[in-house]
Structures are given as structure tokens and as C-alpha cells.
Amino acid sequence: MFNFIRCSHPDCDNFTVTNQNECFLHAADKEALHTQLVRNLEKKKPLGSYCLTHSEFTDLDFSESKLYACKLSNSIFRNVNFSNSYIQLSFFELSTFINCRFEEITSKYSVFAGSIFQNCSFAGSDILHSNFSGIHAKNSIFDDSDLYFTNFSNANLDNVSFKDCNLKKTDFNLSVRNEVSFKYSNFEEASFTRETQS
């Protein structure tokens, strides 16, 4: 897991960038830290236990990345390609994703909650046990994906496609859905109302 070390800047509760004393917002050399992370991901270097939040990533190819126990939360991703990536126990919550590709990714136990997705595609992915609660997704695609035990509760979904998906134990409780398609998916095995938890 990334280190739970707080930023040394007064009154800042953010976790530090890995191996630094400050968070990204208060880092002296943001550009160097950003460049190093981008290079590692573009080189397909596996990234484990790494934290860098509140950043921006534009026009990048992070395909075939391997992320384990990383935190890249509160960030903005524009035209970033994560296709064929493996993402496990990683945190992307409260981020913005515009025109991003997550095609054929594997996501396990990862958190995208509270994020905004616009024109994003997760087609053909295994998104298992992941947290998309409270997301705002518009013009986005999850077709042909396995969404077992993934949580979309309280999400706002506008023109989002879940065609031919495995929705067993997928949670759509309290989600607001406009022009959402579940064609060919087993939506009867998803949860749209509260169930008793053991």
C-alpha cells in the first residue's frame, strides 16, 4: 500500500507523493514528479504502492499499465488511453475523465467513486468489485464487460450503454438513469433496490 504520510505543508491533509515530503499540490518541482510518473506509465513499467493526486494528464498512452495499490485521485484525465491495463486496489476517486479509453482493462477492488466520465469507453473489460458510486457518466460505454459486484449506487448515468454485460450483483441502487441500455445483459441479477446484507 502507498505510505499514509501526510503532506508537510501546514494545514494540508493530503498524502505525500511517494518518497516526497509534500503532496503534489505543494511539491516544489511538480513538473519533474509528473514527468517521472508519465514516463513510467508510458514505458509500461508496473506501478505499485504509488501516490500522486491532484494532477492533470492530457493526450497520453497509458495502455497496458499495471497499477497496484496506487492513488491517483482528484485528477483530470483528458484523452488518456488506459486500454488493456490491469488496475488493482487503486484509487481514482473524485477525478474527471474526458475522452478516455479503458477498453479491455481489468479493474479489481478499485475506486472511481464520485468521478466524472464524459465520452469514455470501458468496452470489453473485467471490472470486478470496483466502486463507481456517485459517478456522473455521460456518453460512455461499458458494453461487453463483466461488472460483477461493482457499485454504481447513487450514480448519474446519461446515455450510458451496458449492452451484453454481466451484471450479477452489480449495484445500481438510487442511480439516476437517462437513456441507459441494458440490452442483452442480465439486469435481473443486478440490484436496483436495497437488499439485506448478511
Binding site: M1, E93, S110, N131, S133, Q197
Partner: protein
């Protein structure tokens, strides 16, 4: 510190393995089911289970003890004195202990069950059935629900917003996400 996540299709519950980066003595939280994948996770990371923490007594969080005790020699920690006839080291509210070289604090949050504990290790909070992504634990009565919500407000919500939440069921989340997103907590905020 390393945190590993194991999902059991029996009980649909989460088990967490926590240990130091180099391996050695380790903590297991809520072994709802012991299977070959969990054994591999423990052994391939060179861990030996020395301490088991139980968030509450329900079988989907405890049943793996039967098999685990045949493999490892460990102490069990919970709020009840006995779980499935096994003697337990009882933890009360506001307990602070060091297990496998890792500092753990425990808080009693009754409501889902009378013996529900949450465990905090650094900025990771293991909430069992107290708090999950987008919901709080189920309760049998409105009184239990009120008690659960009040306890969450008093003991969990004051923690740092960056706290990572690892629940007994479903995916992980963060405290800030639950504060802004969890309808069970939102409605009470407005009262």
C-alpha cells in the same frame, strides 16, 4: 505495510491480509471462508498468521476460523468473549493494541450487531458491516439503525477525509466519498 484483499464467494465477504513489506507475522481480518487462494496469498507473501481480528460474530466473517486454526497458531480478537466456541481476546471501545508489529485501534459501533468493531490501521479503516460503499449496515430495528448512524457520526465521520475504507462486503471507498455520496449518512446530516 501491505494490505491484500480476498473475496469469498461463500458469504460474498471480504477478508483482508495485513503485514509488513518484508513478510513475517501478519494480521487477518474477517476470515469468512478459508480457501486455496487465501492460503496462496498468505504463503506467497511469506506471511504467518499470528492475529485474527473479527469485526463481528456473523458467520460470513468468521467461518474460515475452522480451517485456519488447523494451519496457523494465532490469537483471535473481537468484542465477544467467545466466537464459535473459540476463546477470544476481548476488545472494548477505544482499544489500542500492537499486533504483528502494527498498531491497531478498535472502536465499538453497535447497530448492525451489538459486537460490531471497526479497526483502524494508519489511515485504513476496516469497517465490517458498519459502513460500506454507498450504504450503512443493515439493522433489525429502527432503534438499531439510529444507534448505528449515531455511532458512525460520533466515531467515524470525525476521522480524516482521506481515510480509506475497507468494508466487509463490496468494494473499497474513502471517507470523503461516503460523506458526500452515502445517502444513509446524507439524510441524517440534514436533520
Amino acid at each position: 505495510m501491505k494490505i491484500f484483499f480476498h473475496f469469498s464467494v461463500i458469504g460474498f465477504s471480504n477478508t483482508y491480509l495485513i503485514g509488513n513489506t518484508a513478510g513475517g507475522d501478519a494480521i487477518l481480518i474477517d476470515p469468512g471462508h478459508m480457501d486455496i487462494e487465501l492460503l496462496k496469498l498468505i504463503e506467497e507473501n511469506n506471511f504467518t498468521i499470528k492475529h485474527v481480528l473479527l469485526t463481528h460474530r456473523h458467520p460470513s466473517h468468521t467461518k474460515g476460523l475452522l480451517t485456519l486454526l488447523k494451519i496457523y497458531d494465532f490469537e483471535i480478537y473481537a468484542n465477544s468473549p467467545f466466537i464459535m466456541d473459540y476463546k477470544v481476546k476481548t476488545l472494548s471501545d477505544d482499544s489500542l493494541i500492537t499486533l504483528s508489529g502494527i498498531e491497531v485501534s478498535a472502536n465499538l459501533i453497535p447497530g448492525h450487531s451489538s459486537d460490531s468493531l471497526v479497526y483502524k490501521i494508519q489511515d485504513a479503516l476496516f469497517t465490517g458491516d458498519v459502513l460500506m460503499a454507498g450504504r450503512i449496515g443493515s439493522t433489525n430495528t429502527s432503534l438499531s439503525r439510529s444507534l448505528l448512524i449515531r455511532s458512525i457520526h460520533e466515531k467515524i465521520l470525525p476521522l480524516n477525509d482521506n481515510t480509506l475504507i475497507f468494508p466487509g462486503h463490496g468494494p473499497p471507498t474513502t471517507l470523503f466519498v461516503e460523506k458526500i455520496n452515502n445517502p444513509d449518512l446524507q439524510s441524517e446530516y440534514k436533520q
